[in-house]
């Protein structure tokens, strides 16, 4: 029996993460995701003024800074009992939507699709067409995506002054409300993005695409007229040819916090979302209403000062305790919902949100690397639809407030309180939990989507979602990590993803370029 150990080093530029695989007779039998960098954002925040979280936490990430800002401001509003006026939520949703469009499109067409240009696929059907569309810096769709995503984040800049790393959401609202010029500018960006999506990606009307009721309607769509020649159909054919709809399942438990907060409800203090969230328990086959009290983080296999079991983020700690020679192996903690290992992301968001077409595909084929990527592209259409509805609602409510100052005389210090903020970021469920005491942050915990997905083992020894998604993978040629690359990419890793493979005496490198 040939047993080799592969180290997939995903960290070339930022130094974030590697994956260790044990391979027996060409099949992955064990996987470990290793967060190689201590983040420490939570420790930085302790003792600081509570509002510093609005400036510091967006710096967690250069791609999804708006989602961190949104989670941070919701956490502070919860702690202080503030309810943002409806226009504030509309602006927040619009900007989060624009950032999500940027992320989903770039990931799909600058990073996932170019993997299909790998030289090993040269003899596959439609390879020449794949190159013409997706080859880095050359392909038509690749270059159109660069241009389209450069434009779409202008929407965030209209309200936030800049993107990324803006801090325009403040407890009680946003710093800049809608006016006619901004609405028209944002509408122009959304219209351009929709036109491009319909012509180049879908090959048909976006609303008709969103209305597809089931798997057979999906397959029929991809075979008709313009859609059959568009990028989505090409990706679907190529991905299925590689059997990507049969690999990379991972955890069957799904988590979504719900997408697009309802502006009028938020103004009343009710945190309702337009697209519902929840927890899909794969063991019982039922959806449960979301209970953030069930979220807890384990450190049994992480390099933090040990505690027993899992802790809710309000009780959490992030005290580093590096022990490279123990069975601990990651700087990532292991978040769990109850005791369940979950996956989160566009697939979880849309399945729990009620997308009939994806639900039908999920029932017929199960979860997979391709279904995760397909869900990411489908969410682009939802993002455009939701963003447009935010603009239309703002147009009906121009002149209404976008900020409501806390009542009473200005206090010397911010009041004490505990709060949480949950949003669906590009990569899935993102939560911030804060405790404010004597005007400063006593505790702050951030649970990112990639922490859920790329978690190490927990106190019970249960492997994380990514770790599970690689088990059983048959490596056609053990020196070629392209297939592992497809699965990792389907998770939209919040990491730099250059893959190294270690075997007995050689070191190979995987990269689409």
């Amino acid at each position: 029996m040939a047993r080799i150990e592969l180290n997939l080093d995903l960290n070339r530029v930022e130094g974030d993460l590697e994956i260790r695989l044990m391979v027996e007779d060409g099949v992955v039998v064990e996987a470990r995701t290793v967060g190689t960098m201590y983040r420490g954002l939570e420790q930085i925040l302790i003792g600081r003024a509570a509002r510093d979280a609005l400036v510091i936490t967006p710096r967690v990430c250069g791609i999804c800074s708006t989602s961190h800002l949104y989670a941070a401001v919701l956490a502070l509003e919860h702690a202080w009992g503030l309810h943002p006026p409806a226009n504030a939520t509309r602006v927040r949703n619009l900007c989060l939507g624009a950032e999500g469009l940027q992320s989903d499109l770039r990931h799909s067409f600058l990073f996932f699709a170019p993997d299909f240009c790998a030289p090993r696929y040269v003899d596959r059907p439609e390879y020449a067409r794949v190159l013409a569309e997706f080859e880095p810096f050359q392909g038509r769709i690749y270059r159109e995506t660069l241009a389209a995503t450069r434009r779409i984040v202008r929407i965030v800049a209209e309200f936030g002054g800049q993107w990324p790393h803006s801090s325009f959401m403040v407890p009680g609202g946003v710093s800049m409300g809608p006016d006619l010029r901004r609405l028209l500018a944002c509408r122009a960006e959304l219209d351009a993005a929709r036109q491009w999506l319909e012509q180049s990606i879908l090959g048909g009307d976006m609303e008709a695409w969103l209305a597809l009721p089931d798997a057979s309607a999906f397959h029929a769509w991809l075979e008709q007229g313009a859609a059959a020649d568009a990028a989505l159909a090409l990706l679907n054919r190529f991905a299925r040819g590689l059997q990507l709809h049969r690999i990379g399942v991972g955890s069957g438990h799904l988590l979504s916090y719900g997408a697009c907060y309802e502006p009028e409800a938020m103004a009343r203090g009710e945190r309702l979302t337009r697209m519902s969230g929840g927890f899909w328990d794969a063991d019982t086959g039922r959806v449960q209403a979301l209970d953030q009290g069930l979220i807890n983080e384990h450190v049994r296999h992480s390099w933090y000062q040990p505690y027993a079991g899992g802790r809710h983020p309000w009780e959490g700690e992030t005290v580093p305790d590096y022990r490279p020679d123990s069975d601990r192996y990651s700087w990532a903690k292991a978040p769990r919902y109850g005791d369940k290992v979950v996956q989160t992301g566009p697939l979880a968001e849309l399945l729990l949100g009620g997308d009939a077409m994806l639900q039908s595909l999920y029932r017929e084929e199960g979860g997979s690397a391709w279904l995760r990527q397909l869900a990411r592209l489908r969410r682009v259409a939802y993002g455009l639809q939701q963003s447009r509805s935010m603009l239309d609602e703002m147009a009906l409510h121009l002149g209404e407030p976008h900020f409501e100052a806390p009542s009473g005389a200005p206090a010397e210090a911010d009041p004490d309180g505990d709060g949480y903020g949950l949003v669906m970021a590009a990569r899935g469920a993102l939560g911030h939990w804060v405790k404010v005491r004597e005007g400063v942050i006593e505790k702050y915990q951030i649970v990112t989507p990639t922490a859920w997905n790329a978690s190490p083992r927990d106190s019970q020894g249960q492997a994380g979602h990514w770790e599970q998604s690689l088990l059983g993978l048959k490596l056609g040629d053990s020196e070629d990590t392209t297939e592992i690359g497809h699965i990792i990419r389907s998770h939209d890793p919040c990491l730099v993803c250059t893959v190294h493979m270690m075997s007995s005496d050689q070191r190979l490198r995987f990269s689409p370029f």
């Binding site: 791609i63 050359q138 690749y142 660069l146 984040v153 790393h165 993803c497």
Partner: protein
Amino acid sequence: MLLAQHPPLKRHILCLGNALHGDDGLGPALARALAASPRALPADVSVFEVGTRGLDALALLEGCSRALLVDASQARGQAGRIWQGSAAQLLSQWQVVLGETATAHGAGLGFLLRAAASLGEGPDM
């Protein structure tokens, strides 16, 4: 960084780097020095502190006819040496570094230059 409502600018100075990361702070330091003495610059020149997010600066290469990019580099030899050249020269000499970006999180300066070149528009750099 992308600024809203910028007027039609003619020349942009883009300063890249991490101010908290030793010598990589050269770009931000220059940006702050220029911002502190705005009268030292002609009226048509704007300075941007880009940080470490390369691809996001693509928007700053719009609306200008010339762009000057300032960054610290390990690949350019002896510490303290200043190298000046065109973006095209950099692209042709720097293939190894450019090949290392494969996710949106890793899309740095090399990615930015290739992206700008592939779009076939933009300023002299």
